[in-house]
Symmetry: C2
DNA sequence: CGTTAGCACTCATTTAAGTCGAGTGCTAAT
DNA sequence: ATTAGCACTCGACTTAAATGAGTGCTAACG
């Protein structure tokens, strides 16, 4: 048996209706919903076929049908093809203020949440390279040195280093020059033991400080690994009864609070379909506790190797159309942000 | 009518039992629960009195009694008096790693959440003074200057400033000296227009840069105002049926995600009872959506004018004893952290 | 006079039975 | 191939009765 055109139309009508109502949909409804002018009996026959094909299921005998994961998948795939509109007015809101990165991402998450009524997440961009761009030591007071570390993509980190004895200005200058000359442009992997030893030798009696600085650099960059994730709209899940029974809601909220779990959504998109939007439906989700949800994600590029992720999490009956649209908009927005941010 | 000793005992037994079970408690239960050896009938008489006094209420006729807000209040007040144990092993966990401030606070929140099974919050310490401690401009590349701003309490902020033309080393040095000489030790309020004008004059052709820097400083410090709040254990509310119906849970989760609302819990403690632990029960809460909860908060001092808040939010029938204990421990931990962090 | 046993009464909760209706599958007619 | 008709299913809702925890009151007791 094949999915002919009529079956397709009926299937789409069923899914569409279910997305709106959240209720199982019966043959009678479809009989009127479509412009096919078919009686409910005919629809019933077709529905039986569609069920046999695995696109829809009955939650129980003598109830209407609801889409199976396969059904959703079919619907999403079809939709993705013809999806090409865009450029909504969201852009302006996002650009309104060229704020600091974290504020911007927070806002992006919120924007998506408000716009779609689902839970959303945005990860800070992370460089796969972690190239050191700039390093600056300053004497804060007698026993503290402030190290400012800038890595590619203008991610800035600070560390305070304790020193036993105060260093004079000249020494500070020397150390700064020494470090910047040798380390700038190197990735963290390239800063190996040999290089460190050489530097320490050049620094003479200040070798220990060099070591401390480099340790701090390494740790700071590494710290960036457990990356920031901004979420918003977690409480939207309460708008969907199928997600808000106690156990499920608790699990979901937990995932959104811990954020640790959400990292599983990252990086899958890396190798294969470049820059594609991914849709996980139900059991397809890499996160077990979200098997009653659908998840739509996309990566964004933040210039030169920096990449982050945005995602929307909602019930399986989410408005895929809108969600994909929103994701695309935000994604392209973030994609172009880097140049903007850099001028 | 007065609260004699027997009534007090009965009241405490009622509350204690209700805290454990979450169910209205009847006379029969109390009759056995206490060592008073009284029949249920006697208890009933006493309960009628207690109800008349406003310490307990009946959710409906012919159900057991539950504590009123006033009842909780009585219980908490009594408990606070005799509460003096402390020094749990929590300390070690918290000290285990002298991590960066935000990690530490996050951990503190989590620790409390795990320990108590309630929702918790920790705000980053905020200085009431905002004194500029140290300022450093560095040339990052031709068109960008990195400004590092350290304010009292070792809060470090970065800003990137765009400049039209590149500045040479000498100029940078001059600017740094100029700025540090005149601004260090001043609060943001003290950096007024007169001072700025004077500085600009001294900077000559680089006046505009001075202005940008000071703007950045002002904005950065101000940005600190919408302070960080770390939360944990929000999903614990699902463990308490009285909080997890859809509407309430949604409201609570929302408060914890938005965090904006939580700021209302801050600063009340400021003027009056110094360093006291505050307990808001039910309607006493400054946050409307939390009127079914109890909230326990405390301020902690982070050295020299920096102060933050920790709080635990749970159902009215929370284990006040444990919560106050936990809060005290964490508070004293954070109080002493500053010295630790500074050595 | 405080305490207690006894008892009638209340009322949320649970259980069972019954009704309703949306929806199905099948068959026969068009 | 399509449709009308009909018996059947089964969850959802309604109603009624049973249950039982708990109360308030009264009368008896030490």
């Amino acid at each position: 048996m094949e999915l002919d055109e009529r079956k397709t139309k009926i299937l789409q009508a069923i899914i569409k209706n279910y997305l709106e109502t959240g209720e199982p949909v019966g043959s009678r409804t479809i009989s009127k919903y479509t412009d096919l002018n078919l009686s409910s009996a005919t629809i019933r026959n077709e529905m039986a076929d569609l069920e046999e094909l695995g696109f829809i299921v009955q939650p129980h005998t003598s109830a209407g049908r609801i889409p199976s994961d396969k059904g959703y998948r079919f619907y999403v795939d079809a939709m993705m093809l013809e999806h090409e509109k865009e450029v909504e007015q969201l852009k302006d809101v996002l650009l309104e203020k060229e704020e600091k990165l974290d504020h911007m991402l927070k806002q992006a998450a919120k924007l998506m949440a408000v716009n779609t009524n689902y839970a959303t997440m945005v990860t800070a961009p992370r460089s796969s390279k972690n190239v050191l761009k700039f390093l600056q030591l300053s004497r804060m007071d007698a026993s503290h040195i402030l190290a400012v570390i800038v890595i590619e993509g203008n991610v800035i980190k600070n560390t305070v280093i304790d020193v036993a004895e105060s260093l004079n200005d000249e020494t500070m200058l020397k150390l700064n020059i020494l470090l910047n000359t040798h380390l700038n442009g190197l990735s963290v992997e390239e800063i190996n033991l040999g290089l460190i030893t050489a530097l320490k030798q050049q620094a003479g009696m200040y070798g220990p400080i060099i070591e401390e600085v480099i340790d701090a650099v390494a740790e700071t960059i590494k710290e960036d690994e457990d990356l920031e994730i901004y979420t918003s709209g977690a409480n939207n899940i309460f708008k969907y009864p199928e997600l808000s029974d106690n156990q499920k809601a608790s699990d979901l909220i937990n995932a959104f609070e811990e954020k640790q779990l959400l990292t599983q959504l990252i990086d899958d998109t890396d190798s294969e379909g470049r820059n594609e939007i991914k849709v996980y439906i139900g059991e397809e989700s890499p996160i077990q506790t979200m098997k009653d949800c659908s998840i739509v994600t996309a990566n964004y590029e933040f210039g030169d190797g920096m990449r982050g992720m945005i995602g929307i999490i909602g019930p399986k009956r989410m408005d895929y159309d809108k969600v994909v649209g929103t994701i695309k908009t935000i994604k392209s927005q973030l994609d172009t942000m880097y140049k903007k941010d850099d001028n």
